[in-house]
C-alpha cells in the first residue's frame, strides 16, 4: 500500500507512462521515493517494486548500484566535494578537509543533529571552475577552503529553502566553467536532484508528454 503525497503519486503515474516498459521507471521512481521518505528506505524499495511490478530485491539491486540513492538517512544539506583530477590539482582535498572540520562530519557520514551529510565525490563536470562543491546537487564553482567554511556556516544559520545554486555561487563561488547566464528561481528542496518531473519542485511551467 503506497501512501505517497498526492503530488508524488501523480508524478509516479506520469513517470510510468513515459516509458515503453514499466521497469524503466525504477530509477526516477527511486528519486521520488527518496523525496518522500528522505532516503531509500526498505519501504521506499517495496513501494517502487509495487509500482513497477518488480520484486523488492530487484529494486534493491538497482538502488545499491548507484551512489546517489542513499540507503541511510541523509542530512538536510548534503555537501559533496569533488576530488577528481582537475579539482585535486587546484585544492579540492583542502576544501573537503575544511568542510569536514567545520561541520564535524567526516566523509560518508551524517552529523548527529541531521543538518549535514558530507561526502567527497568523483568528477561533477565543473572542472573549469575547480574546485567545485555541490549542496543537494546544486553547484558552486571556484570554492576556496575559506569560502567552503562560510558556506557551511551560512547553511546552518539561514537554513535556505529552497536552496538556490545561483545564490550560493554569488556568495561563495569564484571562477566558473562558463557563463551561467540568467539566474534561476528553481532550487533544491532536499538531498535529491531538483528535477521537476521527479522532485515536483519547480514544475509550474511544465507541460508535455
Amino acid at each position: 500500500m503506497i501512501t505517497w503525497s498526492k503530488d508524488r503519486a501523480e508524478a509516479a503515474q506520469r513517470i510510468l507512462g513515459s516509458y515503453p516498459e514499466r521497469r524503466s521507471a525504477v530509477m526516477p521512481l527511486l528519486y521520488v521515493a527518496m523525496a518522500e521518505y528522505g532516503y531509500v528506505s526498505e519501504q521506499a524499495m517495496r513501494d517502487v517494486a509495487e509500482l513497477t511490478g518488480l520484486t523488492p530485491v530487484q529494486v534493491s539491486s538497482v538502488a545499491s548500484f548507484y551512489t546517489m540513492y542513499k540507503r541511510e538517512e541523509v542530512g538536510r544539506y548534503l555537501v559533496s566535494v569533488c576530488t577528481s583530477v582537475s579539482c585535486h590539482l587546484l585544492g579540492g582535498d583542502d576544501v573537503l578537509h575544511a568542510v569536514e572540520a567545520e561541520t564535524g562530519v567526516p566523509h560518508g557520514e551524517t552529523g548527529p543533529d541531521g543538518t549535514f551529510s558530507v561526502e567527497h565525490v568523483e568528477c561533477i563536470g565543473a572542472c573549469g571552475g575547480a574546485p567545485a562543491v555541490q549542496v543537494n546537487y546544486e553547484l558552486i564553482e571556484g570554492v576556496t577552503p575559506e569560502k567552503a567554511v562560510e558556506l557551511c556556516q551560512w547553511l546552518n544559520a539561514t537554513e535556505p529553502d529552497p536552496l538556490l545554486g545561483d545564490e550560493m555561487q554569488a556568495l561563495f563561488g569564484g571562477q566558473r566553467s562558463f557563463d551561467w547566464g540568467p539566474s534561476e528561481s528553481t532550487g533544491s528542496k532536499g538531498p535529491v536532484p531538483a528535477f521537476g518531473p521527479y522532485s515536483t519542485a519547480g514544475t509550474d511551467r511544465l507541460a508535455g508528454p
Binding site: 516509458y19 515503453p20 516498459e21 521497469r23 524503466s24 521507471a25 530509477m27 526516477p28 527511486l30 528519486y31 513497477t52 538497482v62 548500484f65 548507484y66 551512489t67 546517489m68 540513492y69 576530488t83 577528481s84 583530477v85 582537475s86 585535486h88 590539482l89 565525490v121 568523483e122 568528477c123 561533477i124 563536470g125 565543473a126 572542472c127 573549469g128 571552475g129 575547480a130 555541490q134 546537487y137 546544486e138 553547484l139 545554486g165 571562477q175 566553467s177 562558463f178 557563463d179 551561467w180 547566464g181 540568467p182 534561476e184 528553481t186 533544491s188 536532484p193 531538483a194 528535477f195 521537476g196 518531473p197 521527479y198 519547480g202 511551467r205 511544465l206 507541460a207 508535455g208 508528454p209
Partner: protein, 424 residues
C-alpha cells in the same frame, strides 16, 4: 568559426529559451529535414564525416548505417558526461537545449525513431531542468509530439536522470540503466544498433554529436566535411582545466597544436610556471608532456602520438604538480567507478590505487614499481596502445593509462618516493 556555441555567445541572457532559438533561425533545419527523405538526411550525415564526440570518435554516419531494419527502434542521447576533465555537454545542455532537441528530432526522423531518450547524469539537475523546460516548450509548439508540423511524423522524448555512475557513459551500461537495471556494460556483439534498448535496434549518440545536426542539415554534409583537417571534420568543444590561466570550454576548428590551445586560448600556465604534463583527452587518456606541445589537436594525430583525444578534455599540470598524487586521483576514480563485473578491473584498479597510495604516504617498496606494471598488464595485456583488454568494457585499461604515464615519463619521481619515503 563556431557552430555549437555561437548562440550562447551572442545571447548570453536567453540562449536557452525557445523565443531566442526561434529568433535565431531555430527549428528551420527541422522543417527542411521533414521535407527530406530519411535516407537523404543519413547521406548528408555520412558526407559530413562527423565523428562521435563522446570519446570513441566513431563516424556517426557509419554508426547510423548499422541500424537493423526492425521496429520499434530507439535513439538515446548520451548526456552522462562524467569523464574527469569534461564539462562541455553540460554547457550545451544548459545554454542551448533547443539546439540539441532539434538535432534529436531531425535524427529521429532520419532513423525512423518514434521515441527518443535523453539520459543526463544525476549530478546535472540544472541542465536537466533546462532540457525539460525546452522539451515542454517544443511540445507546446508542435516540434515534438503527434504529427510534427503536419508531416505525419510522431516523436516522444523522455528525459531520464542517472544516479551517479560513471560507467553509464558506456553505451550498453547506459541502456541497462535506462531499462531500470544496474549499469553494467553488456558483452558485444550484439551492438546496440542491432539489439539495444529493450532488445530493439538503438542508436546512442553524444550530446555534442547531435547538437551539430541542425547545422549539417541546413548547410549540407559537404560543407561540414570541409571544415578542419581530414579525419577531424567540423568544430569541436574542448574542456580546458587544471593549471591554466583561463580554464573553460573552447569551440575550435581542430588542427591547432596543443601548445597553441593552452597558450592562446587558455592563457598559458598560471603564475608563469612551466608545464609538466597534460592529459589530452579525459582521464582515460595516456598523459603527454612538454615534448608533445606541438602535436596537432586532431583525433588521428593524438592517436599517432600514443594517446587519444577522447572526450575533448585537456587537463594541464604545471611543474609543481606531484604527479604520483595526480595519478592516484585518477586511479581512485576508476577504482570507485568500476562496476565490478570483471575481475581484472574490479580487483586490479583497487590494487593500483592501494599501491599508489602506499607510495604517497612513504610506505612504498622498491618492488612496487614492477608490481604496478604487473597488475596493469593483467588488466591490459602487453600494455600496448591502443590498449588490449581482458574486460567487457575499456574502464579497466583506462585506469592503467595514468600508471603507465608516470612510470614512463616520471619514473625517477616514483623511485624517489621509495628511497626518501615522502611525497613532495
Amino acid at each position: 568559426m563556431k557552430i555549437l556555441t555561437s548562440r550562447m555567445d551572442a545571447h548570453p541572457s536567453d540562449s536557452h529559451t525557445i523565443s531566442r532559438y526561434l529568433a535565431t533561425g531555430g527549428y528551420r533545419s527541422l522543417k527542411k529535414a521533414l521535407s527530406m527523405e530519411p535516407a537523404d538526411i543519413i547521406a548528408e550525415v555520412k558526407a559530413s564525416n562527423l565523428r562521435g564526440r563522446g570519446g570513441a570518435g566513431f563516424p556517426c554516419g557509419v554508426k547510423w548505417g548499422f541500424l537493423a531494419d526492425v521496429h520499434p527502434r530507439y535513439l538515446v542521447v548520451n548526456g552522462d558526461e562524467s569523464e574527469p576533465g569534461t564539462f562541455k555537454d553540460r554547457q550545451l545542455l544548459e545554454r542551448d537545449p533547443h539546439q540539441l532537441l532539434e538535432g534529436v528530432i531531425i535524427s529521429s526522423h532520419a532513423l525512423g525513431v518514434n521515441h527518443a531518450f535523453i539520459y543526463i547524469r544525476g549530478e546535472y539537475p540544472k541542465p536537466a531542468r533546462r532540457v525539460q523546460q525546452a522539451l515542454a516548450d517544443a511540445y507546446a509548439s508542435g516540434y515534438v509530439g503527434r504529427n510534427i508540423l503536419g508531416s505525419g511524423f510522431d516523436l516522444d522524448i523522455t528525459v531520464h536522470l542517472g544516479a551517479g555512475a560513471y560507467i553509464c557513459g558506456e553505451e550498453t551500461a547506459l541502456l541497462n540503466s535506462l531499462e531500470g537495471r544496474r549499469g553494467e556494460p553488456r558483452l558485444k556483439p550484439p551492438f546496440p544498433a542491432v539489439e539495444g534498448l529493450y532488445g530493439k535496434p538503438t542508436i546512442v549518440n553524444n550530446v555534442e554529436t547531435l547538437s551539430n545536426m541542425p547545422w549539417i542539415v541546413e548547410n549540407g554534409g559537404a560543407a561540414y566535411a570541409a571544415i578542419g583537417p581530414e579525419g577531424s571534420s567540423g568544430t569541436r568543444l574542448f574542456s580546458l582545466s587544471g593549471h591554466v590561466r583561463r580554464p573553460g570550454n573552447h569551440e575550435i576548428v581542430m588542427g591547432m597544436t596543443f601548445g597553441e590551445l593552452i597558450e592562446d586560448l587558455g592563457g598559458g600556465i598560471r603564475d608563469g610556471r612551466a608545464i609538466k604534463a597534460f592529459i589530452p583527452g579525459g582521464a582515460s587518456a595516456p598523459w603527454f608532456t612538454a615534448d608533445h606541445l606541438d602535436v596537432p589537436v586532431t583525433i588521428d594525430d593524438v592517436a599517432k602520438a600514443g594517446s587519444m583525444l577522447g572526450s575533448g578534455a585537456i587537463v594541464v599540470m604545471d611543474e609543481t604538480t606531484d604527479v604520483v598524487k595526480a595519478a592516484l586521483s585518477v586511479v581512485s576514480f576508476f577504482a570507485h567507478e568500476s562496476c565490478g563485473q570483471c575481475t581484472p578491473c574490479r580487483e586490479g584498479t583497487t590494487w593500483l590505487e592501494n599501491m599508489l597510495r602506499r607510495l604517497t604516504v612513504g610506505q612504498g617498496r622498491a618492488v612496487d614499481l614492477d608490481l604496478l606494471l604487473d597488475v596493469s598488464d593483467n588488466i591490459s595485456p602487453g600494455l600496448a596502445w591502443p590498449p588490449r583488454q581482458t574486460t567487457i568494457c575499456p574502464l579497466g585499461p583506462s585506469a592503467v593509462s595514468p600508471v603507465l604515464s608516470i612510470l614512463t615519463h616520471f619514473r625517477d619521481e616514483v623511485e624517489a618516493l621509495v628511497t626518501t619515503g615522502v611525497s613532495s
